[in-house]
C-alpha cells in the first residue's frame, strides 16, 4: 500500500490536566486515506489525542497542550477559523448523543451551522449520511421524530451520520462499537472500509480484533506514551517491535 501524503502530524505532544499528564510526548504521522487504529487500555490518553486534533480540548478547564499537531501541514493551534478545522474532522465518541432535535435536524445540524439552507441539498445530504451510517432503512419513514427516542445503537449510528454530515476529510471514531450490537458493528465496519477511499480514519478501539480487521496501521499507546506504531500485520504478528505490544494484543496484560 502506498502511504504518501501526511494528513496529520503529531510531534512531541504533551497534554496535562492540572498536575496529571494524560499524554507524555507522542509523535506520530497519519497518512491520507489510511485507517489508523489506536489501541491501549483505558486512561492511556487515546481520547485526549483526538480532542487535541479538533481542538475541543479547549473546552476542558485546566487542560494544557504542548508540542505540535498539524493537520494538512497547518499547526492547529495557529488556525484562526477553528470551526473550519472541526468541520474537517468528524468525531464519534463512545456514548451516543442524539441531539434533542428530529432525526433529520440531527444530521442537518452541521450543514446548517455551516450555512447550507438549500432544502434539496440538505435532503440529499441527510439521506446519504444516514445511508452511510447504516441507519437510513430504519428511519426513512420517520425522519421528523426525535433523535433522542431512538435506541442506543440507532443513536450511535445517528451520531456517525452527524459526524459524516459536514463531509469531513478525517473521521475519528472513539470506541464507537461500545453501544452498538455486533451485527450493526459489522455493518459500520463495512462502511468504514468503503469510506477509506475518501477519508482518513482514526479508529480508537478497545477491541484489538477490530483493529486487526480494519486498520492499515496500528498504534499502541500506554499511559500516555507511544509504545509502538507499525503496520497492523506487524503489530499482530508474533514479533512486533516491542514485547509489550505482543503481550497486550494477546491479552497477557491490560
Amino acid at each position: 500500500m502506498k502511504l504518501s501524503e501526511k494528513k496529520i502530524e503529531v510531534s512531541n505532544l504533551v497534554v496535562s490536566y492540572g498536575r496529571k499528564e494524560a499524554l507524555k510526548g507522542i509523535t506520530l504521522d497519519i497518512f491520507a486515506n489510511e485507517i489508523l487504529a489506536i489501541i491501549g487500555p483505558a486512561q492511556s490518553g487515546k481520547t485526549t489525542l483526538l480532542k487535541v486534533i479538533n481542538r475541543t480540548i479547549e473546552f476542558i478547564p485546566g487542560a494544557k497542550v504542548r508540542g505540535m499537531v498539524k493537520v494538512d501541514s497547518q499547526d492547529v493551534s495557529q488556525i484562526k477559523n477553528v470551526y473550519e478545522l472541526r468541520r474537517k474532522i468528524g468525531m464519534v465518541f463512545p456514548l451516543p448523543v442524539g441531539l434533542p432535535l428530529s432525526i433529520y435536524d440531527n444530521v442537518a445540524f452541521a450543514p446548517r451551522a455551516a450555512g447550507i439552507h438549500n432544502r434539496a441539498q440538505l435532503d440529499e445530504l441527510v439521506e446519504r449520511c444516514l445511508t452511510q451510517a447504516a441507519l437510513w432503512d430504519e428511519v426513512k419513514d420517520r425522519l421528523s421524530s426525535l433523535g433522542t427516542k431512538l435506541s442506543g445503537g440507532q443513536q450511535q449510528r445517528l451520531t456517525i451520520a452527524r459526524a459524516l454530515s459536514h463531509q469531513p476529510e478525517i473521521l475519528c471514531l472513539d470506541e464507537f462499537s461500545i453501544a452498538v450490537d455486533p451485527v450493526t458493528t459489522m455493518r459500520i465496519e463495512e462502511v468504514l472500509k468503503q469510506l477509506r477511499s475518501e477519508v482518513t480514519i482514526i479508529l480508537v478501539t478497545n477491541l484489538v480484533q477490530q483493529a486487526r480487521r480494519l486498520a492499515d496501521r496500528t498504534a499502541f499507546i500506554l499511559n500516555g506514551k507511544m509504545i509502538e506504531i507499525n503496520t497492523t500485520d506487524v503489530i499482530f504478528s508474533d514479533s512486533p517491535d516491542n514485547k509489550m505490544t505482543y503481550e497486550y494484543v494477546n491479552g497477557i496484560f491490560g
Binding site: F59, P61, Y83, E84, R86, L99, P100, T148
Partner: protein
C-alpha cells in the same frame, strides 16, 4: 440424552424465611411510627396556608367586589377600592421584570456558557451570591442613593422598578444558570464537534431545552417584587395618589405611584378608623395576584415540559 426426574420439594429454609419474628414485628412498628410522624409534619404545612386563606377571605368578604378593584380609595383611604395601588403594583412588577429578566438571563448565559474559571468570573459569581443575600431595606437605600438622587431620576415608578430589578436580578441569574446547567454537557460537545459556534449551540440546543426552567425562575420573582414594601417606599411609592379609574395607562414612568404592599401597610398601621375588611381585602387581592401569576407560571412550565425532548 439422559433425563432424571425432577423432584419438587421446597427447601425447608424458605418456609422459615416468611414466618414473623419478634425483630420483624419491632421493625414494622417503628417503620409505621416513623412514617406517620413524617406524614403529620408534612401535613402541618397545609394548615397555615388554609388558615391564612380562609381567615383572609372571611374577613375580606364584605368589601370584595369588582368595584373594589376598579375604584380609587376615598375618604382618606377609609373607603373605596384599590385601583390606584393595584395598577401601581402591576406597573412596578412589569417594569422591574422588563429590566431584570433580559439582563439576568444574558448574564447567566455568559456565566454558564462562556465564562472560563478565572478571577473575574469568580468575582462576578461572588457578587451575584452576595447581592442575593442583601436585605431588601438595604436595596431600598441603594435605590434611593443611586437612582433617585445620583442618577437624578427622582422618586418615580422608574426608580422603584429599577430598585426592584436590582433586588430580583441575582435570583434570576442563579435560577437561569441552574436551568442552563441542567442541559447535558454532551449535547454541547456534540455541537462543538461538528463545528458549531457556542452561540449556534446555545440558540439551537441549550436555550430551547432550558427555557421552561428559565421562565419559571423569572416568573417566581413576580411574587417577590409584588410583595416587597421596603425597596419601593423610599424610591417611588406614595401613601396616596388618585388616578383616573379604569385607565390602565394612568401612570407615567416618571410619576410616583401607589402599591398594594405599601397600601396594606398604610391602612393597617397609619390610618385610624379604617373598616376592618379593607386591609383584608387588599391582602386578598395582593395574594390572589401573586397566586394567579404563579398558577400561570406552573401551567406554562407543564406545557413546556411536555415538549421537552429527552
Amino acid at each position: 440424552m439422559n433425563h432424571e426426574p425432577i423432584t419438587m420439594t421446597a427447601p425447608q429454609s424458605t418456609q422459615k424465611l416468611f414466618t414473623e419474628t419478634a425483630l420483624g414485628r419491632r421493625k414494622k412498628i417503628s417503620e409505621t411510627i416513623a412514617k406517620y410522624i413524617f406524614f403529620v409534619m408534612a401535613l402541618l404545612m397545609i394548615a397555615p396556608l388554609l388558615l391564612i386563606v380562609e381567615y383572609l377571605f372571611i374577613k375580606a368578604l364584605p368589601v370584595l367586589s369588582i368595584d373594589f378593584l376598579t375604584t380609587n380609595p376615598i375618604n382618606g383611604m377609609r373607603a373605596g377600592g384599590i385601583w390606584a395601588p393595584l395598577l401601581g403594583t402591576v406597573y412596578l412588577v412589569v417594569m422591574s421584570l422588563l429590566v431584570a429578566a433580559p439582563i439576568g438571563v444574558m448574564a447567566a448565559i455568559y456565566l454558564n456558557e462562556y465564562a472560563r474559571d478565572n478571577w473575574l468570573t469568580r468575582i462576578i459569581n461572588l457578587a451575584v451570591v452576595n447581592l442575593a443575600g442583601v436585605p431588601s431595606i438595604v436595596h431600598a437605600l441603594f435605590g434611593l442613593g443611586a437612582f433617585v438622587l445620583f442618577a437624578g431620576i427622582g422618586r418615580s415608578i422608574l426608580a422603584a422598578s429599577l430598585t426592584l430589578a436590582i433586588m430580583t436580578l441575582p435570583v434570576i441569574i442563579a435560577s437561569t444558570k441552574e436551568a442552563l446547567a441542567a442541559v447535558p454537557i454532551a449535547f454541547r460537545e456534540a455541537c462543538w464537534n461538528v463545528g458549531a459556534t457556542r452561540w449556534q449551540t446555545i440558540r439551537s440546543i441549550v436555550l430551547p431545552n432550558s427555557i421552561s426552567g428559565i421562565l419559571t425562575g423569572i416568573i417566581l420573582q413576580v411574587s417577590r417584587a409584588a410583595g416587597e414594601t421596603a425597596p419601593i417606599m423610599f424610591t417611588g411609592v406614595v401613601f396616596f395618589k388618585a388616578i383616573p379609574e379604569g385607565d390602565i395607562f394612568a401612570y407615567n414612568l416618571f410619576d410616583q405611584c401607589m402599591a398594594l404592599s405599601m397600601h396594606l401597610f398604610t391602612i393597617s398601621t397609619q390610618v385610624p378608623n379604617v373598616p376592618e375588611a379593607l386591609p383584608y381585602g387588599t391582602a386578598v387581592v395582593l395574594m390572589a395576584t401573586v397566586l394567579l401569576v404563579n398558577a400561570l407560571a406552573i401551567t406554562f412550565r407543564v406545557y413546556l415540559r411536555s415538549r421537552k425532548r429527552w
